[in-house]
C-alpha cells in the first residue's frame, strides 16, 4: 500500500487539531453561557474588576483548565466553595442550584484536565533519588559504609514539604561529577587488588601518658582525657575498628555516665584537632563497645611530627561526662596527662609543702568509670578479599575467560543496581565499555571497577524509572516497579532480594503477598528510614535547626537538646506505628518518649540514660501528643518567646490540611522596637495586630489556634507566667481563645480535646494526603481526589491505625498506577 509517511503524519495532525477544536469550543461556550454569570453575581464584587482580594480575579481566570495556567486556582476555589468558606458568611450566598452548577462545572473541568494532562504529558514518573536515598542505595548495594552524599547539594522541598518529589529533583553537571567520583571511590574500596594491606593493631589496658594542653590556651579548651590510645603508626585511609571495654560505678540510681571517644593528633601545645568517633552510655555491666569510622575523616598529622607531647602519630581520646555533661575527674586518679610538677619559685623560697596524696577511693563508692581495654584495628577487613569483593566478583567456572566472566558479573550487578533484570543489550553495551577500558588498566579488577562505576552513574540507577507504554493506555506499574515503589516508600532504599524475587515470579502485586511484604518491611530495621524521613518532612522538624535559641533568655539551653526533641517525635511515631496505636494519639495522649536530658529539660523524671524510653505523663500532668513535644513547640517559636502565629499556622497546615494563605507582600511588620509594643506580651501584641483591618481578615482565623499553647515557652517548657522582659512586667499566662467556629478554648488540654473530637476526620485526611504525597514521590492532583476520600474513610473506620492505612494505600489503584 502506498500510504506514505507524510500523509499519515498529516492525517494524525489534522485529527488532533480537530479533536482539540471540537472539545474546546462547546466547553468555552458553556462556560460563558452558564458559569460566568453566576461567578459574576456571587464573586466579582471581591474578586473582579473592582477588587482582587487574595490576588484572585474571577473575571480574568482562564476557564481552559487543560492548557491554561489557572487550574490550581480553580481547584482552590472549588475546595473553598465546598468547605463553605467562600462566599464568606456575610456575603450573598449561592442558591442550591447555583452552587450545584458551579461545583458540577469545576469538578468535571478539573477531572477532564487531570486526565488530559496525564494523557498529554504523563506525570513525572522518572524520579531522581534524593541525597539520602542515594546514600542508602549505595550502601545496601555495595555493603560499604561511606558518607556517599556528603558532596551532593541539598535537595529542595516541594510545596507540601517533601524532599522526594520527582518534579523538584533536578540534575546538574556537578551532581554527575559527584556521582562519578563517589562510585569510583566506593568501588575502589569494595573491589580490591593485590595482597591484604598491612594491618595496624594497637591494644592498651592502661592509658598512655603525654603532654596535652591542660589549661585554656589562646581560647582552646584544655584536653584532659581519661584514656589515651597512642597510635604510633596508622593507615591514612580506610575503615578502622575501635573496641573499648569499660564499666561504670553508679551509686544512688544516678544517670548513666557517657563515654565520648574522639580521634586526632597533637600538633603542638595549644590544641588537639580531633573528630568525634562516637558516644555511648556506660552502665555498671562491663561491656565492649565497638566503633567504626574511616581514617580519612579524622585530622591527621603532617609528614613531620612536631611538639614534645610524646604523641607523634594519631591518638584516640576517651573521656566521660555525667548525665549533666560535667567532666568526671577525681584528683586521686591517674589520667593521660602527667601530674603538674610543683613550681619552683624564684628567690630561693621554699617549695610549698607537698600536699598529702589523696587516698585512693575504691571503685563503686562514687560515680566512676573504668576503661579496661582499648583495641584499634585498621584497615578493618573481616576477610581478604573482603565480603564486598567476594559478592561482586563471585566465583565462577568462567573466571578465566574474561569476556564471559565479565558478562556474568554484569548481569548480576546490573540487576541489583537497576532493581529489575538487566536486558541483554544493556549488559552487552556495558561489557563493550569493559573491553575499551581493559587494555588501559593493569588488572582485571581495575577494569571491572570502572565498568561498574558506569552502572552507578546510569539513569537506571540514579532515577527510579517507570517506563511508559503510550500505546496500551495501561498505567499499571510492573511488579519490579512496584518493588521499587515499596522499598523507597518504606526503606528509602532499593528493594532487597526477596522483593525482587517476588517481582520476578510476578507475585508481588497479589494483595495477600503485598500485605505480608509490607508487614515484613515495617518489621525490618530499615523502616526507621520511613519513620524519620516521613515525620521530619511532614512535620517540618528541620525547622528546629532554623530557630536560634537566644541564650539571653535561656542561658541553660543546650543546643544538643534540639536533636533530642527531634528524636522524641520520631520515637513517638515509631511506637504508634509498630505497636499499632491510633494515630489520634498524635493529637492527644498521656505518654511520650524521653531520654535523660530531655526529661530533665521538661522537668520530668524517669529515664537514666540517653536512650529514649516511654514515659507516663499523667503524674506530671504534662500534655502528650505532638502539641506537647519540644520539636513542635521550639521549632515554632522565635527562640525567645512562644510564637502563637507560627504554632497556629503549623497546626492548620500540617495537622488540618488548611494552610492559611501566605501574607500578601505589602503587609507591614509589627515594629518590635516601637516603645508601646515592647511593653506588651506577644499575645497582647497580636490583639493590637488584629485590630488593624488589613491583618484582621486572615489572623482571626489563625491566631486563636496558637494562643491555647501559651503555657509552653519558646523551648517547650511548661510555664504559668510570661517572665518579665525589659520594660514589660511579668504577666500570668492567658491561654484562652475563641476558635473561628465560635468554640471557646482554654489551654492546650481543651484544644487537644477539640482536635480529637471535632477535627479527627480533617486530621485523618491531612495525614492521608501527606502519606500519599510522600509514598508516591509527587504532588497530589485532582486525579487523586477519589483515592484520598476512600483511604480517609477506611482509615477512620480502622480506628486510625497507621499500619492498615499503609497497607490500604499500597494496595490502592493510585499506588499501583503511574
Amino acid at each position: 500500500m502506498m500510504l506514505t509517511r507524510p500523509t499519515l503524519a498529516l492525517f494524525v495532525c489534522f485529527g488532533c487539531f480537530a479533536f482539540l477544536a471540537t472539545a474546546d469550543e462547546p466547553a468555552r461556550r458553556a462556560y460563558e453561557r452558564d458559569v460566568r454569570p453566576v461567578l459574576k453575581a456571587l464573586c466579582y464584587k471581591c474578586h473582579g474588576p473592582d477588587d482582587d482580594k487574595g490576588g484572585v480575579r474571577f473575571d480574568q481566570l482562564d476557564p481552559d483548565l487543560v492548557d491554561g495556567s489557572d487550574t490550581e486556582t480553580w481547584h482552590d476555589a472549588l475546595d473553598q466553595l465546598n468547605r463553605g468558606e467562600m462566599p464568606p458568611p456575610k456575603a450573598k450566598q449561592p442558591t442550591a442550584e447555583q452552587r450545584r452548577l458551579l461545583t458540577d462545572w469545576m469538578v468535571s473541568a478539573l477531572r477532564d484536565a487531570a486526565e488530559a494532562r496525564r494523557f498529554k504529558n504523563g506525570r513525572v514518573t522518572i524520579r531522581r533519588l534524593t541525597r539520602y536515598e542515594y546514600a542508602n542505595t549505595m550502601r545496601d548495594l555495595l555493603r560499604i559504609d561511606l558518607d556517599f552524599a556528603r558532596e551532593l547539594p541539598p535537595d529542595p522541598a516541594s510545596q507540601a514539604g517533601f524532599l522526594n518529589n520527582g518534579a523538584t529533583l533536578e540534575m546538574s553537571p556537578t551532581q554527575i561529577e559527584v556521582y562519578l567520583k563517589a562510585a569510583r571511590k566506593a568501588l575502589a574500596d569494595a573491589i580490591v587488588t593485590g595482597e591484604q594491606p598491612e594491618l595496624y593493631v594497637f591494644t592498651q589496658t592502661k592509658t598512655a601518658v603525654g603532654k596535652l594542653p591542660n589549661r585554656k590556651v589562646a581560647g582552646h579548651k584544655p584536653v584532659r582525657p581519661e584514656f589515651v590510645l597512642d597510635l604510633k603508626e596508622f593507615p591514612r585511609n580506610g575503615e578502622f575498628e575501635l573496641k573499648v571495654t569499660a564499666r561504670a560505678a553508679i551509686p544512688n540510681d544516678q544517670g548513666l555516665p557517657r563515654m565520648r571517644v574522639s580521634m586526632g593528633h597533637v600538633p603542638g601545645i595549644i590544641h588537639v584537632p580531633r573528630g568525634k568517633v562516637g558516644e555511648v552510655d556506660v552502665s555498671d555491666k562491663t561491656e565492649t563497645f565497638t566503633f567504626r569510622g574511616r581514617m580519612e575523616d579524622f585530622p591527621q598529622p603532617g609528614p613531620i611530627a612536631f611538639g614534645n607531647s610524646g604523641f607523634k602519630g594519631m591518638i584516640v581520646l576517651i573521656d566521660f561526662v555525667d548525665a549533666d555533661g560535667n567532666e568526671l575527674r577525681y584528683p586521686d586518679r591517674t589520667y593521660a596527662q602527667p601530674p603538674a610538677k610543683p613550681q619552683k619559685k624564684p628567690g630561693g623560697k621554699k617549695k610549698p609543702e607537698p600536699k598529702n596524696e589523696p587516698a585512693t577511693v575504691s571503685f563503686g563508692s562514687r560515680l566512676d568509670i573504668e576503661v579496661t581495654s582499648v583495641e584499634f584495628k585498621a584497615p578493618a577487613y573481616t576477610s581478604w578479599p573482603p565480603p564486598s569483593h567476594q559478592r561482586l566478583l563471585f566465583d565462577s567456572q568462567n573466571s578465566d575467560d574474561e569476556p564471559r566472566y565479565v558478562r556474568e558479573l554484569l548481569e548480576r550487578f546490573m540487576t541489583s543496581a537497576f532493581r529489575r533484570p538487566a536486558t541483554k543489550e544493556e549488559i552487552e553495551q556495558t561489557a563493550q565499555l569493559f573491553e575499551v577500558i581493559r587494555p588501559k588498566t593493569d588488572s582485571f579488577e581495575e577494569a571491572v571497577r570502572e565498568t561498574f562505576a558506569s552502572v552507578l552513574v546510569s539513569p537506571h540507577f540514579l532515577y527510579v524509572v517507570e517506563r511508559r507504554d503510550p500505546q496500551s493506555g495501561n498505567h499499571r506499574i510492573t511488579d519490579f516497579e512496584l518493588a521499587s515503589r515499596l522499598s523507597y516508600f518504606l526503606w528509602s532504599s532499593a528493594p532487597d532480594q526477596q522483593l525482587l524475587q517476588l517481582a520476578h515470579q510476578g507475585k508481588l502485586h497479589d494483595s495477600k503477598v503485598l500485605k505480608q511484604q509490607v508487614e515484613r518491611m515495617l518489621e525490618d530495621v530499615r523502616s526507621s528510614e520511613f519513620v524519620c524521613r516521613f515525620i521530619d518532612q511532614w512535620l517540618d522538624l528541620d525547622a528546629l535547626n532554623r530557630v536560634a535559641v537566644n541564650p539571653e533568655y535561656f542561658p541553660d539551653f543546650d543546643n544538643e537538646l534540639k536533636q533530642d526533641m527531634q528524636k522524641e517525635t520520631q520515637a513517638y511515631f515509631a511506637v504508634l506505628l509498630h505497636e499499632d496505636h491510633s494515630a489520634l494519639e498524635l493529637l492527644d495522649s498521656d505518654w511520650t518518649m524521653l531520654n535523660l536530658s530531655l526529661a530533665r529539660h521538661y522537668g520530668l523524671q524517669g529515664p537514666r540514660s540517653s536512650r529514649f524510653e516511654q514515659v507516663d505523663l499523667k503524674p506530671a500532668s504534662r500534655p502528650g501528643g505532638l502539641l506537647g513535644q519540644g520539636a513542635f513547640l521550639l521549632a515554632n517559636s522565635n527562640g525567645e518567646d512562644a510564637h502563637p502565629i507560627k504554632r497556629a499556622v503549623w497546626i492548620l497546615d500540617r495537622l488540618l490540611d488548611s494552610p492559611p494563605a501566605s501574607p500578601p507582600p505589602d503587609v507591614p511588620e509589627l515594629d518590635a522596637e516601637s516603645p508601646d509594643l515592647a511593653r506588651l506580651t506577644l499575645k497582647e501584641q497580636l490583639e493590637v495586630h488584629r485590630q488593624k483591618e488589613s491583618c484582621a481578615n486572615c489572623h482571626q482565623g489563625i491566631d486563636p489556634w496558637g494562643i491555647p499553647l501559651e503555657n509552653f515557652d519558646a523551648v517547650g517548657r511548661w510555664r504559668i507566667e510570661v517572665p518579665r522582659h525589659k520594660k514589660r512586667p511579668a504577666t500570668a499566662v492567658d491561654a484562652t481563645s475563641v476558635l473561628p467556629d465560635g468554640k471557646k478554648i482554654d489551654g492546650v488540654d481543651q484544644l487537644q480535646r477539640y482536635l480529637v473530637e471535632d477535627c479527627s476526620e480533617k486530621f485523618a485526611r491531612s495525614l492521608v494526603k501527606r502519606l500519599m504525597a510522600y509514598g508516591l514521590g509527587r504532588s497530589l492532583d485532582f486525579g487523586d481526589r477519589k483515592a484520598i476520600q476512600t483511604l480517609t474513610s477506611r482509615f477512620v473506620e480502622n480506628d486510625f491505625r497507621l499500619k492498615s492505612l499503609i497497607i490500604d494505600f499500597v494496595q490502592s489503584e493510585t499506588f499501583q498506577t503511574k
Partner: protein, 420 residues
C-alpha cells in the same frame, strides 16, 4: 600567612610540554588568555547577617562623602571602591533565606514555590569559564555545611569548598609525572564511562512520556557537560600547575583565621589566574570566639534589639571583618599584571543579603563595589524608601567581563555612573 607579591607570570613555569591531544576549539581561549590584556575577574562576597548601616553608610553622597567608621578601614583605597546605598534585589524577601538569592536575585526565597535561578558567577562562567583551570570557585566560611552563593540555571546549588588547604592542593600541588599520567588515564576512562551512560539515557528517552523526557534531557545534558569538563581537565592536567612560593594554608578554626586563610587563597587563585570567578559566603552563625571585644554568638548579636552592649560587640565583629577585607584589597592592589594592579582587573563585590539583621529586612542591602577598572571613589546614594535594583550592577559587571548581556534577573538596565 606571608605572601610575597609577584607577577603572575613568574608563577607560571615555561610551558614546554607538548600537547598529546588534538587542539580543541573549546580549549583555545585557555591558552590564548595570557596574552589578552583585559582579563577581568569577579569576586563576590556575602556576609550573611547584615552590616550595621549606621557604621557602614557614609555621610553625604557623590565624591565628597565622609568615610564611615567601617569605611575608614579601607581609607587607603578610597579611590578604588564605591559604596552603594538604597539598593536591593526586587521582590527578594524572606529574611535569612535571601542568602540563596544574593547572586541570583530570584524572587521570594523561603516560600514553598521558590525556585532559584542562575547566579552571576555561573552565568559568567558560561562565557569565560573555560579560560582557566577552574571555571568558578564557590567558597564558604562557615561552621558547618557546604552552602554556597552559586547556582546553576536549573537552580541547583553548587557545593562550596570551605577548606583553603583542599583548594590549594587542587590548584597548586601537582603530583609526580606518574601520578599525572594516572590522573589523565582516570579522566579518559571517566569520559568513556559517561559516553556509555549518555547512550543509555538516549535509549531510555525514547520510551518515556514528555514530562520525563525533559528530566532525561537534563540528565543527558549534564552528562555531556561533565564529559566536556573532563576533556578540558585533561588538557589542564598536562599544563603544569602554577608554582607558588608559599606553604599550604592551614584551615583555621575561628572566624578571623578562616577568613584570612580564605582571602589569601582567593588572592593566590587570582594571581595565578587559576579562576576568574569566585564566590564566598560568610555564614557568621556560631562564630564569635577569638575576636577582640566580642563574646556573644554572632547570630544572637545580629538581633541586637537596639541594646548598646550588643551593638558595641557587633561593631567589633564587623570591624574585624572589614580589616580582613582591607588586607585582601591591599594584596590585590599590590599584585601587578601587565602593569595593572590585580585590583583593577578584579571586580570585588562585598555586601549582605540583609539590610537589617535585627529585623530580617532584605531591603537596603549594604553594598561595597571595588576594582575592575571602574571609576570609583564615590557614594552612589539611591532612594532608601524605593530601592534601586541591584541586578543592574550585575549587568554592568557582566559587560565589563566582555559579555554582551543587557539583562540579568530583574534588572532594568545597567548601572550608570561607574564608567571610567
Amino acid at each position: 600567612m606571608p605572601i610575597k607579591s609577584l607577577d603572575r607570570r613568574t608563577f607560571l613555569r615555561a610551558s614546554g610540554v607538548a600537547l598529546g591531544l588534538p587542539w580543541l576549539d573549546a580549549m583555545q581561549p585557555a591558552f590564548a588568555a595570557e596574552d589578552r590584556d583585559a582579563s577581568r575577574r569577579i569576586v563576590a562576597i556575602n556576609t550573611n547577617l547584615g552590616i550595621l548601616s549606621e557604621h557602614f553608610y557614609p555621610e553625604g553622597a557623590g565624591r565628597d562623602y565622609t568615610l564611615s567608621p567601617y569605611l575608614e578601614t579601607l581609607a587607603d583605597f578610597r579611590d578604588q571602591f564605591t559604596v552603594i546605598s538604597g539598593c536591593s534585589h526586587p521582590d527578594v524577601t524572606g529574611g535569612h533565606s535571601a542568602e540563596v538569592s544574593f547572586l541570583t536575585a530570584a524572587p521570594h526565597p523561603g516560600t514553598a514555590s521558590f525556585r532559584n535561578s542562575i547566579s552571576l558567577d555561573q552565568f559568567a562562567a558560561e562565557h569565560i569559564g573555560q579560560q582557566t583551570r577552574v571555571s568558578t570557585l564557590p567558597l564558604s566560611v562557615a561552621k558547618q555545611g557546604n552552602q554556597s552563593l552559586s547556582f546553576t540555571s536549573s537552580g541547583v546549588m553548587l557545593p562550596a569548598e570551605n577548606s583553603p588547604s583542599t583548594v590549594f592542593q587542587a590548584l597548586f600541588v601537582a603530583g609526580e609525572q606518574k601520578e599525572i599520567e594516572r590522573q589523565i588515564q582516570q579522566l579518559r576512562v571517566g569520559r568513556s564511562i559517561l559516553d556509555t551512560v549518555a547512550d543509555r539515557a538516549s535509549a531510555l528517552r525514547k520510551r518515556v512520556g514528555p514530562a520525563d523526557r525533559r528530566r532525561l534531557d537534563q540528565y543527558f545534558n549534564s552528562v555531556r557537560e561533565v564529559e566536556r569538563r573532563l576533556l578540558i581537565a585533561e588538557e589542564w592536567e598536562r599544563k603544569p600547575r602554577p608554582r607558588v612560593d608559599v606553604p599550604p594554608p592551614s584551615d583555621g578554626e575561628y572566624l578571623l583565621e578562616k577568613l584570612s586563610a580564605m582571602y589569601d587563597l582567593i588572592r593566590l587563585a587570582l594571581e595565578t589566574d587559576s579562576t576568574r570567578l569566585i564566590t564566598l559566603l560568610i555564614r557568621l552563625d556560631g562564630f564569635s570566639a577569638h575576636i577582640p571585644g566580642v563574646s556573644t554568638e554572632s547570630h544572637n548579636l545580629s538581633h541586637h534589639v537596639g541594646r548598646k552592649d550588643k551593638l558595641a560587640q557587633l561593631k567589633n565583629l564587623e570591624l574585624a571583618q572589614f580589616r580582613e577585607l582591607a588586607r585582601l584589597m591591599e594584596g590585590l592592589s599590590e599584585a601587578k599584571e601587565h602593569g595593572d594592579s590585580l585590583l583593577d582587573r578584579t571586580m570585588l563585590l562585598y555586601g549582605s543579603n540583609l539590610g537589617n539583621g535585627n529585623n530580617h529586612d532584605t531591603r537596603n542591602m549594604p553594598i561595597l563595589f571595588a576594582g575592575g577598572g571602574f571609576k570609583h571613589g564615590q557614594h552612589l546614594a539611591f532612594d532608601r524608601k524605593n530601592n534601586y535594583p541591584l541586578p543592574n550592577l550585575f549587568v554592568s559587571m557582566l559587560q565589563r567581563l566582555g559579555i554582551a548581556s543587557d539583562r540579568f534577573a530583574s534588572s532594568t538596565g545597567a548601572l550608570r555612573g561607574l564608567e571610567g
